[in-house]
C-alpha cells in the first residue's frame, strides 16, 4: 500500500530519482503560438520603428525614449507569491499593471505558464521545463537557491547580459549594483555576466540580539557588552524566574541547530563569531586565503561554551532537534529571554509574543563581544534577492532593463507629488478620503476600494511586476531607518510611509545594525559548487553536524573536534579548500 503512496516531499524530490528529457527539439507545441506571435509583433515593431526613425528620436529597438512606439511582447513564466491579491475580474494576465505597462511603456508581458509559488512549485516547474527540453521564454526571473540559477545559466539558452547592462541600465540600477563589488560574482562565467541581479535593501539580513526587555527591567539587568555579561543575563533569566510563575521553566536564549549552525533566525553563529570564525561559510584568514569556518580552532571554543550553556540550561535541551522556526517559537511563547535575528522581527514573529504573553516587551541590542574582544556575525553579502535571465533568442532583450529602469526612476523612491507618491493605483493600494488624507484600509472604506475579493488584504499591483516588487534601492531602507532613528522628520513619500508602518523597535534595531556593521563576516565563496563539493558535501556536512551536536550534548568529548577536523581534511575537505581558493583567485583577479 505504500508502494504507490505519493509522499509530497519525496515527489518534489522525485526529480532526483528519475529524470529524463526528450532531445532539445521536443518543444512544447503550445508555446509556439506565443513565440510566433512575439516574433510577428516585433517584426511589426521593427518595421514601424524604421518608419518613425526618420522622425529622429526613436532608436533601433523602436524605443522613443519613454516607450516602445509599437508595443513589443516579452514572454516569461510566473510563480505567484502569497502576497499577490487580485481584484475581482483581474488575473495575472489581465490587470492594472499589465495594461499600465502596455499603454505607457509599450511592453506587453505574456505568460507561458503561471503557478502559485509555494512549496517550491515554481522551482519544480522550472526544472521540469528545463529537463524536458521546452523552449525557454524571453525572460526568466528566479528567486531562491543558486543551484537552479546555475542550472539555468549552464543550459546555454541565456545570453551574456554584460553589454546589455552597460548600455541600457539606468543610473539608479547601476548605482545599486556598484554598491557591492561582489554583486556579479555568483553569475560570472569566464568573465561573462550571465544574469541580472534583482536588488534588495541592504543590511536587511544582519543579525542583532533581541532581549525580553520586561525581564531585563524586572531583574534590574544592564545591557550586555561582553559574552560574560550576556552569560550573567542568561543565568538570571534561567534561575530568577523572570516570568514569575514560580517554576524554573525559562531559558536564556532561543536557538536551534537541527539543520545548520548558520541560521536565519534563532541564530547561534554569532557565538562562533565571538571566537573569530563563522561556521558553514568560507572566511578570509590572516594570510588572505579562504578557510572553512566550521573547522577553525575558534569553533572548538565556541562548542565548549555552547556545551556549558546546555549543561546550565541556558539553551533548550531540545535545541538540537529544532530548526529556525522551532527556535523562534521558544521566544514567541515566552519561554526564552533572548534571540538573535534580523531587524524586521518585530513585524514577524514577535507579534505572536505580544499576543501570547500580555505585557511582554522586547528590545534590540548589539551583539556582545567575545573573551578576546572578537566579534563577528553573518551577512555582508550583496543585497540581491533574485536573478533575471534573458533568452539568447529574445527579440527585445533590452526591454527588461527598460522595464526595470522605469521602476527605479519612478517607483523606488518617488518624489513628492509624483505619480506613485501614494502607491501604484488609486482604488487598488491606496485611496483618497474626502478630506484629502490617504488611506490604505480597504476594510474600513469599501466604497473607495471597489471590487475587492478579500478585504483583509490590500491589493498591491506592484507585486505583479516582472521584477517582483518594482525596484528597490539597496541603500534606501537603511538610510531612511537611521534617519528616523536619529529623530529626523520624514520628508519623502518613502520616509513618511516607513515612519508610518515600521515599529519603533524595528527602527531602533536598524540603527544598531548600522552601528555594528564592521562585525559583518562575509562568505567569500560565491561560486557554483565545485566538483569535490558535489561528491563530498553531504558526507562532510553530516560529519560536522553530527560531531557538533554530539559535543554539545556531551555524547562525545570536546576533543572529538580534532578528530573531526582530520577526517574532514582527509575526506575531501583539503581538496575543496584548494578548489575554493582557486575559484577565489580567478574571480577576484578580474
Amino acid at each position: 500500500m505504500q508502494l504507490k503512496r505519493v509522499s509530497s516531499v519525496l515527489l518534489v524530490s522525485a526529480l532526483a530519482f528519475s529524470v529524463t528529457a526528450c532531445s532539445g527539439n521536443g518543444n512544447n507545441a503550445q508555446n509556439e503560438p506565443a513565440a510566433t506571435k512575439a516574433a510577428a509583433e516585433s517584426t511589426n515593431a521593427g518595421g514601424n520603428a524604421s518608419a518613425t526613425n526618420a522622425a529622429g528620436n526613436v532608436d533601433e529597438t523602436g524605443w522613443d525614449g519613454s516607450k516602445y512606439v509599437e508595443p513589443i511582447t516579452l514572454t516569461t513564466v510566473k510563480g505567484i507569491g502569497t502576497n499577490y491579491f487580485f481584484k475581482n475580474g483581474e488575473t495575472m494576465e489581465n490587470n492594472v499593471m499589465q495594461s499600465y505597462m502596455k499603454d505607457n511603456l509599450g511592453i506587453d508581458v505574456k505568460y507561458d505558464w503561471i503557478v502559485t509559488d509555494t512549496n517550491d512549485a515554481y522551482k519544480t516547474k522550472l526544472r521540469l521545463m528545463l529537463s524536458s527540453g521546452e523552449k525557454m521564454p524571453d525572460v526568466i526571473t528566479y528567486r531562491g537557491d543558486m543551484e537552479t540559477v546555475n542550472m539555468l545559466i549552464d543550459s546555454g539558452q541565456f545570453m551574456d547580459i554584460g553589454d546589455l547592462f552597460d548600455k541600457y541600465a539606468g543610473d539608479n540600477y547601476k548605482k545599486g549594483v556598484e554598491l557591492n563589488a561582489y554583486t556579479w560574482l555568483p553569475v560570472t562565467r569566464d568573465g561573462q555576466r550571465m544574469a541580472l541581479p534583482v536588488l534588495d535593501y541592504a543590511y536587511n539580513d544582519d543579525m542583532l540580539l533581541w532581549l525580553r526587555q520586561d525581564w531585563m527591567d524586572k531583574l534590574g539587568l544592564q545591557p550586555p557588552k561582553t559574552l560574560a555579561d550576556f552569560e550573567a543575563i542568561m543565568d538570571a533569566f534561567v534561575n530568577k524566574d523572570p516570568d514569575g510563575n514560580g517554576k524554573k521553566d525559562t531559558l536564556g536564549i532561543a536557538t536551534g541547530f537541527k539543520n545548520t549552525f548558520l541560521g536565519w533566525m534563532g541564530d547561534i553563529s554569532w557565538l562562533f563569531g565571538d571566537y573569530g570564525t563563522l561556521p558553514g561559510q568560507w572566511n578570509k584568514s590572516a594570510d588572505g586565503t579562504l578557510t572553512y569556518g566550521s573547522i577553525d580552532p575558534g569553533a572548538k571554543q565556541a562548542l565548549a561554551t555552547l556545551k556549558t550553556w546546555m549543561d546550565k540550561g541556558y539553551i533548550s535541551k531540545d535545541s538540537g532537534l529544532k530548526d529556525e522556526n522551532g527556535a523562534a517559537e521558544l521566544f514567541t511563547k515566552g519561554q526564552a529571554g533572548a534571540l538573535v535575528g534580523r531587524n524586521w522581527m518585530p513585524d514577524w514573529p514577535f507579534g505572536d509574543l505580544l499576543n501570547n504573553v500580555p505585557g511582554a516587551k522586547y528590545k534590540g541590542y548589539p551583539l556582545p563581544a567575545g573573551p578576546d574582544g572578537k566579534i563577528g556575525a553573518q551577512s555582508g553579502n550583496p543585497s540581491v534577492n533574485g536573478w533575471m535571465l534573458i533568452n539568447k533568442d529574445a527579440k527585445n532583450p533590452e526591454a527588461l532593463l527598460r522595464y526595470y529602469n522605469f521602476f527605479f526612476d519612478n517607483w523606488a523612491n518617488p518624489e513628492k507629488g509624483s505619480e506613485f507618491e501614494n502607491g501604484f493605483a488609486e482604488g487598488y493600494d491606496w485611496a483618497k478620503l474626502p478630506d484629502g488624507t490617504i488611506t490604505k484600509d480597504p476594510q474600513k472604506y469599501p466604497d473607495l476600494f471597489p471590487d475587492y475579493a478579500d478585504r483583509t488584504h490590500l491589493v498591491e499591483p506592484i507585486y505583479y511586476t516582472l521584477t517582483f516588487e518594482g525596484a528597490r534601492q539597496p541603500s534606501l531602507y537603511a538610510d531612511t531607518m537611521s534617519k528616523l532613528a536619529n529623530g529626523e522628520a520624514p520628508v519623502t513619500p518613502y520616509e513618511i510611509q516607513s515612519a508610518a508602518i515600521r515599529k519603533p523597535e524595528n527602527i531602533e534595531a536598524m540603527k544598531i545594525v548600522l552601528e555594528q556593521k564592521d562585525i559583518r563576516m562575509k562568505n567569500y565563496f560565491q561560486g557554483p559548487l565545485t566538483e569535490t563539493m558535489k561528491q563530498k558535501n553531504e558526507l562532510l556536512n553530516k560529519l560536522i553536524n553530527q560531531t557538533y551536536s554530539k559535543i554539545i550534548y556531551g555524547q562525545s568529548p570536546i576533543d572529538e573536534f580534532d578528530t573531526m577536523v582530520d577526517n574532514w581534511k582527509k575526506s575531501g575537505g583539503d581538496q575543496i579548500t584548494k578548489e575554493v581558493n582557486d575559484w577565489y583567485n580567478s574571480a577576484s583577479s578580474k
Binding site: 504507490k4 528519475s18 503561471i114 502559485t116 512549496n119 537557491d145 533566525m265
Partner: protein, 292 residues
C-alpha cells in the same frame, strides 16, 4: 450461543476497552488539529494549543472559503474524484476478474500479472511522466489527473484475490446456463464482492481527493487547480534564509491554523463517504448467505 458464555463476556469487556483506547489514541490528534484550526494564529504558531482552541476564531476557514478560487477548485476536485474513481474501479474490476482465472484455463494470465507487478516497483518518475502527458496533449485537462494513476496495481491485486475467494458454485451454475464472462462478472462476482469493491472505492476516492502534486505538474493555470493542489498553495513554509521579506508579506505568515483546517478538509470525504460505503459490508454478507 457462544456470546452468552462468561468467558466470552469477559473478553467482550476487555475487547471494548482495547477498542476504546485505540479509538481515543486516534481521535486525540484529530481533536488537537481541529483545536488548532479554530485558534488564533499567535498561540497556534507558538505551539500553545492543546485539545481546546485558544482565542477561538474561524478565520482559517473563512480565509480558505473566501478565496475566489475555492469553489472552482472544489468542483474540479469533485469531478476528478467521481471520474477518477469510476475509471479506476472499471479498469481494475475488469482486469481483476480476468486475472482471477487460473493459469490452467487462462494461460497468459501470469504474463499479465507480472506485467502489472513490475510497474509497482519500477517507475520512471516525474519528468518522464510529465513528458508523456505533455506529448499526449493532456496538459490542462482533467484526463491528465485521472488517467496516469488509473491503474492501481495494488488494489487490482487485492480485488483479484477477493474474486478468487468467491465461491465457485454460482459461477458454474451461470456458465451452465450459457452465460459469458461479462455476464458472470456482473451478475455473479460483482454482487458478491460488494464489501471489497466498496473498500477499494473508498481508497480511490480519498486518493483522488487528496492528490495534489499532479495538479501542480499538469495544470498550467493555477485557477484550474483541484482542491488539494489549491489548498497546498495557500500554505507556505516560509524560509527567509535568502529573502528579505516585506512587512506586508510577513503579515501573511500565520499558516499553522490554515494548515490544520486543510487537514480537516482532506479528511472530510472519509467522514462523509465512509459511513455510507460501510452499508455494503452487510449487504455482502447477506448476498453470500443467499447463495448457499
Amino acid at each position: 450461543m457462544y456470546y452468552k458464555t462468561t468467558g466470552y463476556r469477559l473478553f467482550t469487556v476487555l475487547n471494548y476497552c482495547i477498542l476504546l483506547l485505540a479509538g481515543i489514541l486516534c481521535i486525540l490528534p484529530i481533536i488537537h488539529i481541529l483545536a488548532i484550526s479554530f485558534s488564533a494564529s499567535a498561540p497556534a504558531n507558538s505551539h500553545l494549543v492543546g485539545l481546546w482552541p485558544v482565542d477561538f476564531n474561524i478565520e482559517s476557514y473563512t480565509k480558505t472559503l473566501n478565496n475566489p478560487n475555492f469553489s472552482r477548485a472544489f468542483v474540479i476536485s469533485l469531478g476528478r474524484t467521481v471520474l477518477g474513481t469510476f475509471m479506476t474501479m472499471s479498469v481494475i474490476i475488469l482486469a481483476g476478474y480476468a486475472l482471477s482465472k487460473d493459469a490452467s484455463v487462462f494461460k497468459s494470465r501470469n504474463i499479465y500479472a507480472w506485467y502489472f507487478v513490475f510497474t509497482m516497483l519500477f517507475t520512471g518518475g516525474m519528468i518522464p511522466s510529465y513528458i508523456v502527458v505533455r506529448n499526449l496533449h493532456l496538459m490542462d485537462t482533467i484526463w491528465a489527473l485521472v488517467l496516469p494513476g488509473a491503474v492501481q496495481v495494488f488494489n487490482m491485486i487485492l480485488l483479484m484475490n477477493f474474486f478468487k475467494a468467491t465461491p465457485k458454485e454460482m459461477e458454474e451454475a451461470a456458465l451452465i446456463d450459457g452465460a459469458g464472462h461479462f455476464t458472470v462478472l456482473f451478475r455473479v462476482y460483482l454482487p458478491l464482492a460488494m464489501p471489497s469493491i466498496a473498500t477499494l472505492s473508498l481508497f480511490s476516492i480519498v486518493g483522488n481527493w487528496n492528490a495534489w502534486f499532479d495538479g501542480l505538474l499538469y495544470i498550467n493555470n493555477y485557477r484550474n487547480y483541484p482542491l488539494a493542489t489549491f489548498l497546498q498553495t495557500i500554505i507556505v513554509q516560509q524560509d527567509f534564509s535568502k529573502l528579505n521579506p516585506d512587512v506586508n508579506e510577513l503579515k501573511n505568515i500565520s499558516q499553522r491554523t490554515v494548515k490544520a483546517a486543510q487537514i480537516f478538509i482532506g479528511i472530510l470525504p472519509v467522514l462523509i463517504v465512509y459511513p455510507f460505503l460501510q452499508r455494503f459490508f452487510v449487504k455482502g454478507i447477506v448476498l453470500g448467505a443467499i447463495k448457499e
